[in-house]
Subunit: 200 residues, 2 copies
Protein backbone atom coordinates (compact mmCIF):
# COMPACT_ATOMS: atom_id res chain seq x y z
CA UNK A 1 0.00 0.00 0.00
CA UNK A 2 2.83 2.34 0.89
CA UNK A 3 4.57 1.48 -2.37
CA UNK A 4 1.42 2.19 -4.33
CA UNK A 5 1.10 5.57 -2.60
CA UNK A 6 4.74 6.42 -3.32
CA UNK A 7 4.28 5.52 -6.99
CA UNK A 8 1.11 7.62 -7.17
CA UNK A 9 2.94 10.59 -5.67
CA UNK A 10 5.68 10.24 -8.28
CA UNK A 11 3.00 10.19 -10.98
CA UNK A 12 1.36 13.36 -9.59
CA UNK A 13 4.67 15.14 -9.33
CA UNK A 14 5.69 14.27 -12.88
CA UNK A 15 2.24 15.07 -14.25
CA UNK A 16 2.34 18.48 -12.57
CA UNK A 17 5.69 19.30 -14.14
CA UNK A 18 4.57 18.24 -17.62
CA UNK A 19 1.27 20.10 -17.33
CA UNK A 20 3.02 23.28 -16.21
CA UNK A 21 5.44 23.09 -19.11
CA UNK A 22 3.09 22.06 -21.92
CA UNK A 23 -0.42 22.89 -20.72
CA UNK A 24 -3.05 20.39 -19.57
CA UNK A 25 -4.63 19.82 -22.99
CA UNK A 26 -1.31 19.13 -24.70
CA UNK A 27 -0.16 16.58 -22.10
CA UNK A 28 -1.11 12.94 -22.71
CA UNK A 29 -1.40 10.04 -20.26
CA UNK A 30 1.12 8.19 -22.40
CA UNK A 31 3.75 10.90 -21.91
CA UNK A 32 3.17 10.98 -18.17
CA UNK A 33 3.51 7.21 -18.00
CA UNK A 34 6.71 7.28 -20.04
CA UNK A 35 8.19 9.97 -17.82
CA UNK A 36 7.69 7.79 -14.70
CA UNK A 37 8.77 4.62 -16.51
CA UNK A 38 5.35 2.99 -16.89
CA UNK A 39 3.68 1.57 -19.97
CA UNK A 40 0.19 2.77 -20.75
CA UNK A 41 -1.19 -0.44 -19.20
CA UNK A 42 1.04 0.05 -16.16
CA UNK A 43 -0.16 3.61 -15.65
CA UNK A 44 -3.77 2.41 -16.04
CA UNK A 45 -3.20 0.35 -12.89
CA UNK A 46 -2.94 3.68 -11.00
CA UNK A 47 -5.19 6.08 -12.89
CA UNK A 48 -8.02 5.34 -15.30
CA UNK A 49 -8.30 8.69 -17.09
CA UNK A 50 -6.71 12.11 -17.45
CA UNK A 51 -9.54 13.63 -15.44
CA UNK A 52 -8.97 11.14 -12.62
CA UNK A 53 -5.24 11.90 -12.71
CA UNK A 54 -5.82 15.65 -12.52
CA UNK A 55 -8.31 15.21 -9.69
CA UNK A 56 -5.94 12.97 -7.74
CA UNK A 57 -3.08 15.40 -8.30
CA UNK A 58 -5.08 18.45 -7.17
CA UNK A 59 -6.26 16.63 -4.05
CA UNK A 60 -2.76 15.44 -3.32
CA UNK A 61 -1.47 19.03 -3.58
CA UNK A 62 -4.25 20.29 -1.32
CA UNK A 63 -3.70 17.46 1.21
CA UNK A 64 -0.13 18.70 1.55
CA UNK A 65 -1.35 22.26 2.22
CA UNK A 66 -3.93 21.02 4.73
CA UNK A 67 -1.44 18.85 6.62
CA UNK A 68 1.66 21.00 6.48
CA UNK A 69 0.28 24.54 6.44
CA UNK A 70 -3.28 24.76 7.77
CA UNK A 71 -3.29 22.08 10.51
CA UNK A 72 -0.23 23.42 12.39
CA UNK A 73 -1.49 27.02 12.06
CA UNK A 74 -4.90 26.14 13.52
CA UNK A 75 -3.17 25.46 16.85
CA UNK A 76 -2.00 29.08 17.01
CA UNK A 77 -4.41 31.59 18.54
CA UNK A 78 -2.55 34.83 17.88
CA UNK A 79 -3.31 35.96 14.30
CA UNK A 80 0.15 37.51 13.82
CA UNK A 81 1.93 34.32 14.79
CA UNK A 82 -0.55 32.29 12.76
CA UNK A 83 0.20 34.35 9.64
CA UNK A 84 3.91 33.86 10.22
CA UNK A 85 3.51 30.10 10.62
CA UNK A 86 1.31 29.81 7.51
CA UNK A 87 3.78 31.77 5.42
CA UNK A 88 6.90 29.90 6.48
CA UNK A 89 5.29 26.46 6.14
CA UNK A 90 3.64 27.29 2.81
CA UNK A 91 6.86 28.67 1.34
CA UNK A 92 8.82 25.65 2.58
CA UNK A 93 6.25 23.23 1.16
CA UNK A 94 6.49 24.89 -2.26
CA UNK A 95 10.26 24.90 -2.12
CA UNK A 96 10.37 21.21 -1.18
CA UNK A 97 7.82 19.89 -3.69
CA UNK A 98 8.63 22.40 -6.45
CA UNK A 99 6.21 25.00 -7.76
CA UNK A 100 4.56 22.78 -10.38
CA UNK A 101 2.28 21.03 -7.93
CA UNK A 102 1.04 24.37 -6.59
CA UNK A 103 0.60 25.83 -10.07
CA UNK A 104 -1.23 22.71 -11.28
CA UNK A 105 -4.03 23.36 -8.76
CA UNK A 106 -5.01 26.15 -11.15
CA UNK A 107 -6.00 23.54 -13.72
CA UNK A 108 -8.79 22.23 -11.49
CA UNK A 109 -11.31 24.30 -13.44
CA UNK A 110 -10.72 21.84 -16.30
CA UNK A 111 -12.00 18.87 -14.26
CA UNK A 112 -15.41 17.44 -14.94
CA UNK A 113 -18.01 19.53 -13.21
CA UNK A 114 -18.61 17.75 -9.88
CA UNK A 115 -14.90 17.27 -9.29
CA UNK A 116 -14.15 20.89 -10.26
CA UNK A 117 -16.70 22.02 -7.69
CA UNK A 118 -15.22 19.88 -4.94
CA UNK A 119 -11.70 21.12 -5.73
CA UNK A 120 -13.00 24.67 -5.76
CA UNK A 121 -14.50 24.18 -2.28
CA UNK A 122 -11.16 22.98 -0.93
CA UNK A 123 -9.31 25.96 -2.41
CA UNK A 124 -11.95 28.25 -0.99
CA UNK A 125 -11.55 26.76 2.50
CA UNK A 126 -7.83 27.60 2.47
CA UNK A 127 -8.52 31.11 1.24
CA UNK A 128 -11.17 31.57 3.96
CA UNK A 129 -8.71 30.45 6.61
CA UNK A 130 -6.24 33.17 5.57
CA UNK A 131 -9.01 35.73 5.18
CA UNK A 132 -10.34 35.04 8.72
CA UNK A 133 -6.85 35.27 10.16
CA UNK A 134 -6.38 38.65 8.49
CA UNK A 135 -9.78 39.76 9.85
CA UNK A 136 -8.55 38.84 13.35
CA UNK A 137 -5.41 40.91 12.80
CA UNK A 138 -7.60 43.82 11.66
CA UNK A 139 -9.55 43.54 14.94
CA UNK A 140 -6.25 44.15 16.72
CA UNK A 141 -5.77 47.35 14.73
CA UNK A 142 -3.63 46.13 11.82
CA UNK A 143 -4.36 47.04 8.20
CA UNK A 144 -6.54 50.08 8.86
CA UNK A 145 -8.42 51.11 5.73
CA UNK A 146 -7.57 47.88 3.92
CA UNK A 147 -10.17 45.31 2.93
CA UNK A 148 -9.31 41.82 4.27
CA UNK A 149 -10.05 40.25 0.86
CA UNK A 150 -7.61 42.52 -0.98
CA UNK A 151 -4.98 41.85 1.68
CA UNK A 152 -5.54 38.07 1.47
CA UNK A 153 -5.40 38.04 -2.34
CA UNK A 154 -2.23 40.15 -2.31
CA UNK A 155 -0.66 37.71 0.14
CA UNK A 156 -1.57 34.78 -2.13
CA UNK A 157 -0.22 36.69 -5.13
CA UNK A 158 3.28 36.84 -3.63
CA UNK A 159 3.32 33.16 -2.64
CA UNK A 160 1.75 31.74 -5.79
CA UNK A 161 4.12 33.73 -8.01
CA UNK A 162 6.99 32.40 -5.93
CA UNK A 163 5.85 28.92 -6.96
CA UNK A 164 6.56 30.08 -10.54
CA UNK A 165 9.89 31.81 -10.13
CA UNK A 166 11.65 29.93 -7.34
CA UNK A 167 14.38 27.52 -8.43
CA UNK A 168 16.52 25.67 -5.90
CA UNK A 169 20.22 26.39 -6.06
CA UNK A 170 19.92 30.12 -6.74
CA UNK A 171 22.27 32.68 -5.25
CA UNK A 172 20.31 32.78 -1.97
CA UNK A 173 19.78 29.77 0.30
CA UNK A 174 16.16 28.62 0.46
CA UNK A 175 15.84 29.52 4.15
CA UNK A 176 17.02 33.05 3.35
CA UNK A 177 14.43 33.36 0.55
CA UNK A 178 11.76 32.13 2.99
CA UNK A 179 12.87 34.67 5.61
CA UNK A 180 12.71 37.56 3.14
CA UNK A 181 9.28 36.56 1.84
CA UNK A 182 8.03 36.34 5.43
CA UNK A 183 9.44 39.81 6.06
CA UNK A 184 7.92 41.29 2.89
CA UNK A 185 4.46 39.75 3.14
CA UNK A 186 3.72 39.43 6.84
CA UNK A 187 5.95 41.84 8.72
CA UNK A 188 5.72 44.64 6.16
CA UNK A 189 2.65 44.21 3.97
CA UNK A 190 0.18 42.79 6.49
CA UNK A 191 1.48 43.77 9.93
CA UNK A 192 3.68 46.76 9.16
CA UNK A 193 1.52 49.55 10.41
CA UNK A 194 -0.40 48.99 13.59
CA UNK A 195 -1.65 52.42 14.64
CA UNK A 196 -0.84 53.51 18.16
CA UNK A 197 -3.81 53.25 20.52
CA UNK A 198 -5.37 56.62 21.23
CA UNK A 199 -4.52 58.20 24.49
CA UNK A 200 -7.56 58.73 26.67
CA UNK B 1 -5.52 51.91 -41.13
CA UNK B 2 -7.12 53.01 -37.91
CA UNK B 3 -10.02 50.67 -38.53
CA UNK B 4 -7.64 47.77 -39.18
CA UNK B 5 -5.85 48.53 -35.93
CA UNK B 6 -9.13 48.66 -34.00
CA UNK B 7 -10.18 45.33 -35.47
CA UNK B 8 -6.83 43.78 -34.62
CA UNK B 9 -7.13 45.00 -31.04
CA UNK B 10 -10.58 43.40 -30.78
CA UNK B 11 -9.08 40.17 -32.09
CA UNK B 12 -6.26 40.27 -29.51
CA UNK B 13 -8.66 41.02 -26.69
CA UNK B 14 -11.02 38.20 -27.62
CA UNK B 15 -8.17 35.76 -28.22
CA UNK B 16 -6.73 36.59 -24.79
CA UNK B 17 -10.05 35.84 -23.10
CA UNK B 18 -10.52 32.54 -24.94
CA UNK B 19 -6.94 31.47 -24.28
CA UNK B 20 -7.24 32.26 -20.56
CA UNK B 21 -10.45 30.27 -20.31
CA UNK B 22 -9.57 27.26 -22.43
CA UNK B 23 -5.80 27.20 -22.69
CA UNK B 24 -3.73 28.10 -25.76
CA UNK B 25 -3.62 24.61 -27.27
CA UNK B 26 -7.38 24.10 -27.02
CA UNK B 27 -8.23 27.44 -28.67
CA UNK B 28 -8.59 27.44 -32.45
CA UNK B 29 -8.31 30.33 -34.93
CA UNK B 30 -11.83 29.46 -36.08
CA UNK B 31 -13.28 30.02 -32.61
CA UNK B 32 -11.45 33.33 -32.23
CA UNK B 33 -12.76 34.46 -35.61
CA UNK B 34 -16.31 33.42 -34.74
CA UNK B 35 -16.13 35.29 -31.44
CA UNK B 36 -15.23 38.56 -33.22
CA UNK B 37 -17.71 37.93 -36.05
CA UNK B 38 -15.20 36.99 -38.78
CA UNK B 39 -15.14 33.98 -41.07
CA UNK B 40 -11.93 32.00 -41.23
CA UNK B 41 -11.07 33.81 -44.49
CA UNK B 42 -11.91 37.14 -42.87
CA UNK B 43 -9.65 36.46 -39.91
CA UNK B 44 -6.88 35.38 -42.29
CA UNK B 45 -6.89 38.96 -43.59
CA UNK B 46 -5.57 40.01 -40.15
CA UNK B 47 -3.52 37.07 -38.93
CA UNK B 48 -1.99 34.21 -40.87
CA UNK B 49 -1.41 31.67 -38.11
CA UNK B 50 -2.03 31.00 -34.42
CA UNK B 51 1.63 31.73 -33.71
CA UNK B 52 1.37 35.10 -35.46
CA UNK B 53 -1.80 35.86 -33.50
CA UNK B 54 -0.17 35.00 -30.18
CA UNK B 55 2.91 37.05 -31.06
CA UNK B 56 0.80 40.06 -32.09
CA UNK B 57 -1.27 39.76 -28.92
CA UNK B 58 1.75 39.54 -26.62
CA UNK B 59 3.37 42.55 -28.30
CA UNK B 60 0.13 44.49 -28.13
CA UNK B 61 -0.12 43.77 -24.39
CA UNK B 62 3.49 44.82 -23.87
CA UNK B 63 3.07 47.97 -25.97
CA UNK B 64 0.30 49.02 -23.57
CA UNK B 65 2.62 48.45 -20.57
CA UNK B 66 5.44 50.37 -22.28
CA UNK B 67 3.24 53.35 -23.21
CA UNK B 68 1.01 53.57 -20.17
CA UNK B 69 3.23 52.32 -17.35
CA UNK B 70 6.94 52.53 -18.18
CA UNK B 71 7.12 55.70 -20.32
CA UNK B 72 5.39 57.99 -17.78
CA UNK B 73 7.41 56.49 -14.90
CA UNK B 74 10.73 57.11 -16.71
CA UNK B 75 10.10 60.84 -16.29
CA UNK B 76 10.11 60.49 -12.50
CA UNK B 77 13.50 60.66 -10.78
CA UNK B 78 12.50 59.80 -7.23
CA UNK B 79 12.29 56.00 -6.90
CA UNK B 80 9.47 56.16 -4.35
CA UNK B 81 7.29 58.29 -6.60
CA UNK B 82 8.27 56.18 -9.59
CA UNK B 83 7.13 53.01 -7.82
CA UNK B 84 3.84 54.69 -6.94
CA UNK B 85 3.27 55.83 -10.53
CA UNK B 86 4.13 52.39 -11.95
CA UNK B 87 1.75 50.67 -9.57
CA UNK B 88 -1.21 52.97 -10.11
CA UNK B 89 -0.84 53.00 -13.90
CA UNK B 90 -0.25 49.24 -14.13
CA UNK B 91 -3.27 48.44 -11.95
CA UNK B 92 -5.46 50.85 -13.94
CA UNK B 93 -4.30 49.36 -17.25
CA UNK B 94 -5.20 45.86 -16.06
CA UNK B 95 -8.55 47.04 -14.77
CA UNK B 96 -9.37 48.80 -18.04
CA UNK B 97 -8.28 46.07 -20.45
CA UNK B 98 -9.23 43.13 -18.19
CA UNK B 99 -6.78 40.65 -16.77
CA UNK B 100 -6.81 38.24 -19.74
CA UNK B 101 -4.41 40.30 -21.82
CA UNK B 102 -1.92 40.43 -18.95
CA UNK B 103 -2.28 36.72 -18.21
CA UNK B 104 -1.92 35.81 -21.88
CA UNK B 105 1.63 37.24 -21.89
CA UNK B 106 2.47 34.07 -19.93
CA UNK B 107 1.78 32.02 -23.06
CA UNK B 108 4.66 33.62 -24.90
CA UNK B 109 6.85 30.61 -24.08
CA UNK B 110 4.68 28.68 -26.55
CA UNK B 111 5.69 30.93 -29.47
CA UNK B 112 8.13 29.68 -32.05
CA UNK B 113 11.63 30.08 -30.76
CA UNK B 114 12.82 33.42 -32.19
CA UNK B 115 9.54 35.12 -31.30
CA UNK B 116 9.53 33.58 -27.82
CA UNK B 117 13.02 35.01 -27.29
CA UNK B 118 12.01 38.49 -28.42
CA UNK B 119 8.93 38.43 -26.18
CA UNK B 120 11.07 37.21 -23.30
CA UNK B 121 13.45 40.15 -23.80
CA UNK B 122 10.59 42.64 -23.62
CA UNK B 123 9.24 41.07 -20.42
CA UNK B 124 12.74 41.12 -19.01
CA UNK B 125 13.15 44.83 -19.79
CA UNK B 126 10.02 45.64 -17.78
CA UNK B 127 11.21 43.50 -14.89
CA UNK B 128 14.64 45.19 -15.00
CA UNK B 129 13.02 48.62 -14.86
CA UNK B 130 11.20 47.70 -11.63
CA UNK B 131 14.28 45.98 -10.24
CA UNK B 132 16.46 49.04 -10.86
CA UNK B 133 13.89 51.32 -9.27
CA UNK B 134 13.85 49.11 -6.18
CA UNK B 135 17.67 49.19 -6.14
CA UNK B 136 17.49 53.00 -6.12
CA UNK B 137 15.06 52.88 -3.19
CA UNK B 138 17.45 50.54 -1.37
CA UNK B 139 20.23 53.10 -1.87
CA UNK B 140 18.03 55.56 0.03
CA UNK B 141 17.83 53.10 2.92
CA UNK B 142 14.60 51.27 2.14
CA UNK B 143 14.26 47.47 2.29
CA UNK B 144 17.30 46.79 4.47
CA UNK B 145 18.23 43.10 4.38
CA UNK B 146 15.94 42.40 1.43
CA UNK B 147 17.21 41.33 -1.98
CA UNK B 148 15.93 43.62 -4.77
CA UNK B 149 15.00 40.60 -6.91
CA UNK B 150 12.81 39.05 -4.24
CA UNK B 151 11.17 42.42 -3.62
CA UNK B 152 10.55 42.94 -7.36
CA UNK B 153 9.13 39.44 -7.83
CA UNK B 154 6.88 39.86 -4.79
CA UNK B 155 5.62 43.15 -6.22
CA UNK B 156 4.84 41.45 -9.56
CA UNK B 157 3.15 38.59 -7.70
CA UNK B 158 0.56 40.92 -6.19
CA UNK B 159 -0.17 42.72 -9.46
CA UNK B 160 -0.22 39.66 -11.73
CA UNK B 161 -2.54 37.79 -9.37
CA UNK B 162 -4.80 40.85 -9.37
CA UNK B 163 -5.10 40.37 -13.14
CA UNK B 164 -6.62 36.97 -12.29
CA UNK B 165 -9.00 37.87 -9.48
CA UNK B 166 -10.17 41.40 -10.28
CA UNK B 167 -13.66 41.71 -11.73
CA UNK B 168 -15.22 45.09 -12.42
CA UNK B 169 -18.43 45.79 -10.53
CA UNK B 170 -17.33 44.22 -7.23
CA UNK B 171 -18.21 45.68 -3.86
CA UNK B 172 -15.32 48.16 -3.99
CA UNK B 173 -14.92 50.82 -6.69
CA UNK B 174 -11.94 50.22 -8.96
CA UNK B 175 -10.15 53.37 -7.75
CA UNK B 176 -10.49 52.14 -4.16
CA UNK B 177 -9.02 48.74 -5.12
CA UNK B 178 -6.14 50.55 -6.84
CA UNK B 179 -5.57 52.73 -3.77
CA UNK B 180 -5.44 49.71 -1.44
CA UNK B 181 -3.07 47.77 -3.70
CA UNK B 182 -0.79 50.81 -3.86
CA UNK B 183 -0.86 51.00 -0.08
CA UNK B 184 -0.17 47.26 0.38
CA UNK B 185 2.59 46.91 -2.19
CA UNK B 186 4.43 50.22 -2.26
CA UNK B 187 3.73 52.04 0.98
CA UNK B 188 3.86 48.94 3.20
CA UNK B 189 5.75 46.14 1.46
CA UNK B 190 8.43 48.12 -0.38
CA UNK B 191 8.69 51.48 1.43
CA UNK B 192 7.28 50.67 4.85
CA UNK B 193 10.43 50.57 6.88
CA UNK B 194 13.07 53.15 6.11
CA UNK B 195 15.50 52.99 9.02
CA UNK B 196 16.27 56.25 10.76
CA UNK B 197 19.66 57.71 9.74
CA UNK B 198 22.29 57.15 12.40
CA UNK B 199 23.12 60.10 14.54
CA UNK B 200 26.64 61.14 14.05
Amino acid sequence: MKKRQARLEAIYQTAAELICRKGYEATTLGEIGAAVGLTKAGLYHYVKSKDELLYGMVNYAMDRVEEEVVAPARQIEDPKERLRAVTVNYVRLIMRTGGSLTMAIDESNKLQRARARRAQRRRRAFYDFIHQTIESAKEEGYLPGIDASIAALSFFGVILFMAEWYRPGGSLASEEVARQILSLTVDRMLLGDKPKPRKG
